[in-house]
Amino acid sequence: MATEYETSADYIQHHLTNLTYGRFPEGHWGFAHGQEDINAMGFWAINVDTMFWSLSLGLVFLAIFSWAAKKAKPGVPGGLQNFCEYAVEFVENNVAQVFGTRPNPIIGPLSLTILIWVFLMNLMDLVPVDWIPHAAALAGIPYMKVVSTTDPNATLGMSISVFLLVLYYNFKIKGPIAFGKALVTHPVPHWSMYWFNFILEMVDMLAKPLSHGLRLFGNLYAGEMIFILIALLPFYAQWLLSLPWAIFHILIICLQAFVFMILTIVYLTQAHETEEH
């Protein structure tokens, strides 16, 4: 596939570029043609491929699970039904282990959504790297990044949403005074060090959503990068590397979806803990 591109660097660059629709500096809106355009657009642009794939996969997730929810009966479940129920039970158990049995209407469905949605987005990484971009190119679409989780916008979008929820629960459960007090009295509980504690707590707090989102992004981006590098090999040798890497990657995509979910549960649990530590 690399033959259509002038150099391997071009090929890699192409596969790592999103299909971006945004506002050019001159004021009109349109699709970007290359990285320079994207850089020029800045914040006022949207990655159409990321949005398309993540929304589609999210709808697939909701379709499957709402079908299962509608069909659910206490009798013996069938194949897909069983899978959905197993996933729900798995999430429920993890929530019960970390978060405990505090009543919270959102943590369960939130974790389930994260687990399945992130897994489905990661799963697109196992589709051979050239199939969909090539088909898109034939249809006249210049760029097509299939794996939404290799776009930091997607992962940070989720992790920041989780962070906002964490802030909300911090205020709701601890109250603004206790929450503010917790920000300045740790780790050194002396009034003269409150400014220092505050800086530390702020760093700690802001690092959470960043590391949360970038961990998923980094893992998937690196995995995708290796698939792209393998795709540069001659076609008869690719399977030698892509097969073991794909098999290994099955583990990574599940694990990263699971890690993202568990961290979400952990952060929300911390937001609910009122006792001094």
Binding site: T20, A45, I46, M51, K70, V88, P109, W117, A154
Partner: protein
Amino acid sequence: MNINLTILGQAISFAFFVLFCMKYVWPPLTSILRERREAIIEGLEKAAQAEKELEKANDAAGQELEQAKKQSAELISQARSRASQLEEEAKDRAKEEAARIIAGAQGQIDQEVSRAREELRAKVGALAVQGAEKILGAAVDRSAHENMLKKLAEEL
């Protein structure tokens, strides 16, 4: 790699997905799981109970069988002893009957013999007298020789 509006779009769609999941996916599935868990617990309890009952029933059946066996053995031995008793009785009766018949026959025979003897005696007396008459050529006085004739008849 650029942060742009996509981050907002992602956050918004994420929020909608979670809301949808909260409303239409999570509650029915978790409640069904709970129901099934309870149904399974109930089923297992029932199975354990049924097993216990089965064991009890098996025990009872075994006891019943044992008792029936004992009873039948008893009946058989009773029947056997009764049969042998009947046999003995029949044998005894047959023996008695046979003895009785034999005794009757013997009596009859004796009677016949004694009658024949009597007859013979009487006839011998007469015959002897006739013979003597012929030999002597004269009539023997029966009354004169009554004693001798009697002796003779008794010797027979």
